[in-house]
Symmetry: C2
């Protein structure tokens, strides 16, 4: 465990929404800034599927985080003003307890004995962490991608716990197109011979499965438009063997997929990926046709999407904005022209820092 990670011991007998419970579970998290005396300046970040708690550098760990441009003193999420918390999701493999953690009953990894994970479990464990820090209400909850759905899960289950929401590149449920992509990713990991029903190890790693899953995912992270600009037809190379790498986009996929192989645990990936497809915000409606956001005590929300996002297209953000509005929650909808597709929030620094920064400033 990296020494810059803070550890929260999840209270024993933590109940999973679909059954099963957790003993001796932990969440690894990091914080930036100071909690004020009133404990009223906390901002919690729920992450995307493969991100970890290291959202930005800090005194204990100066490596850039995955949202380095967004978080820090004087930045959009200004750590001079806010006490910022980011945890590795429950079920993930980045310090928090997940399927590859040792099961205290057996001392061997849980593998598929880990309880079925939902985004609600991620949300509930995150609230437990915040409460352990003495936070009775979050000033703001920020969730991009999977984190946006986890944020909704948190709101539905803790209706008074959040004052302001920043919901990015996400929605009330996964569209079938996104589920299809994730399903193919899960299938190719499970079918890798080395996956061996979950009994892989570092020496027999499902490398091909992880690599190919990443390539499939990459079809959906950026946009056809960005790729048109990035890969001119003229850059073809002579393949080393017939049907080997020849087109520029093939090298790109190969390079990034190779980097991913050992960056994430395969079973963790399956669990988190399925949790995204399971999430259905409409289940929280009191009856068919009712607005599931009724009764959620948000002061305001900012809903951001990118017009080039294939995975969470803008119809989803429009839908959420509409639901917030109908539920009487003041909501601002921003659909950006970013060409980086689903990844825009990680890449389009000027647009996203301005949107998030301005919004947080207004909430003071």
């Amino acid at each position: 465990m990296a020494n810059y990670l803070k550890l929260f011991a999840i209270p024993d007998s933590f109940q999973f929404r679909r059954g099963g419970q957790l003993e001796k579970g932990i969440l690894a998290y990091e914080t930036w800034g100071q909690l004020n005396e009133e404990r009223s300046n906390a901002v919690f970040i729920l992450t995307g599927l493969s991100a970890d708690s290291h959202a930005a550098s800090h005194a204990e760990h100066d490596t850039d985080g995955w949202w380095e441009f967004m978080i820090g003193p004087g930045k959009a999420i200004d750590t001079n003003q806010w006490f910022v918390i980011c945890a590795s999701s429950l079920g993930s493999c980045k310090g928090s307890t997940g399927p590859c953690s040792p099961n205290p009953k057996t001392n061997a990894p849980y593998r598929f004995d880990f309880p079925d994970l939902t985004l609600e479990d991620i949300a509930n464990s995150s609230v437990a962490l915040c409460q352990s820090l003495g936070i009775t209400q979050l000033h703001a909850l920020i969730g991009p991608s999977m984190g946006g759905m986890s944020a909704l899960a948190l709101l539905f289950n803790h209706k008074q716990y959040v004052r302001h929401l920043v919901h990015i590149a996400s929605g009330m449920a996964s569209p079938p197109f996104s589920t299809a992509i994730r399903s193919l990713q899960r299938e190719v990991i499970r079918k890798d011979e080395n996956f061996n029903k979950g009994y892989y190890d570092a020496a027999n790693w499902p490398e091909e499965g992880m690599k190919f899953a990443r390539k499939i995912g990459m079809l959906s992270y950026r946009s056809a438009k960005e790729w048109n600009e990035r890969f001119p037809r003229s850059l073809k190379q002579i393949p080393e063997q017939p049907f080997g790498i020849e087109f520029p986009v093939e090298s790109y996929l190969e390079h990034h997929a190779n980097r991913f192989i050992h960056q994430f645990d395969p079973i963790s990936y399956l669990y988190l990926s399925r949790a995204m497809d399971w999430f259905d915000g409409f289940k929280y409606a009191s009856h068919k046709g009712a607005n599931p956001l009724t009764g959620v005590a948000l002061d305001s929300a900012l809903v951001i999407g990118a017009k080039t996002d294939l995975l969470f297209p803008t119809e989803l953000q429009q839908q959420l904005h509409q639901l917030l509005d109908t539920a009487g929650i003041k909501s601002e909808l921003c659909l950006t022209d970013s060409i980086q597709g689903h990844d825009a929030f990680l890449v389009d620094q000027p647009v996203f820092t301005q949107l998030v920064g301005n919004y947080l400033n207004q909430t003071v």
Copy 2:
């Protein structure tokens, strides 16, 4: 060989554009209607990647074809008026010579000894077939998907051979996004253990590779919008095993992919798929920045695209329309609201029959 197929013996020493030549090659084709005395009413259809010559039923074979609603007496492509020809592409596995055909030198299948195939080779062999029927000029050339690019290859190499073009769901070159999808399809076929560097047979067929390649392809054939309507969230099933089929879109992919496994030869698929990515209409420009369509003696063209097509997005049809226009060729651009994505030409009967029918009527 099915007895309803007509066979054209490609003249020996047929030269492939990238080198290599073919002896004793054949094209399997079918025809509808009668060639008039002037031989001026011929309409040739260049197919998509996995389609064959059986575009519609006829007296010798009454099974529905892949474009049944489009071709026939009184239909949009009216066989009372036109002499319609459709061939299985050179390199395909549907009666025409391809990598799985016996190499006359060895009597064993060519496999990877088959010459590198380009869409130009498909175009040139198609022209040879038409010429063998006494056709000195086609009244119309119709190409959907891969067929649209093959049609352009034909125009660039036989500038006087076609009077009217119907170009559907295609473009001057594959965008990197489409190349990426096809690259992943080729990779997963090649990496199937049973593929065995091309030495598979019916008993050891790369089933998993073919199946998964089809699933990847299916991500791009319809549209996210159509899938939203087709797969309501409520239709989830209980999976037989953890991570088994649960979401409606998963059953759909599984069902269609299973049907495809033995429908196409794996090496043929690789050859045709790569040919699509190799095609680059801009190479026919006389110099950088010049219009490659200059000098092509078309009387008119109809360019159709669907706004939901991910594989050949409407920017491509707009681009082609613009190039035709600049080259002084009368061109009509129709971007349909069909929600069936790339497959719209196979499915959206009312829209496509009207567009193609009206256009052909105007060309008389």
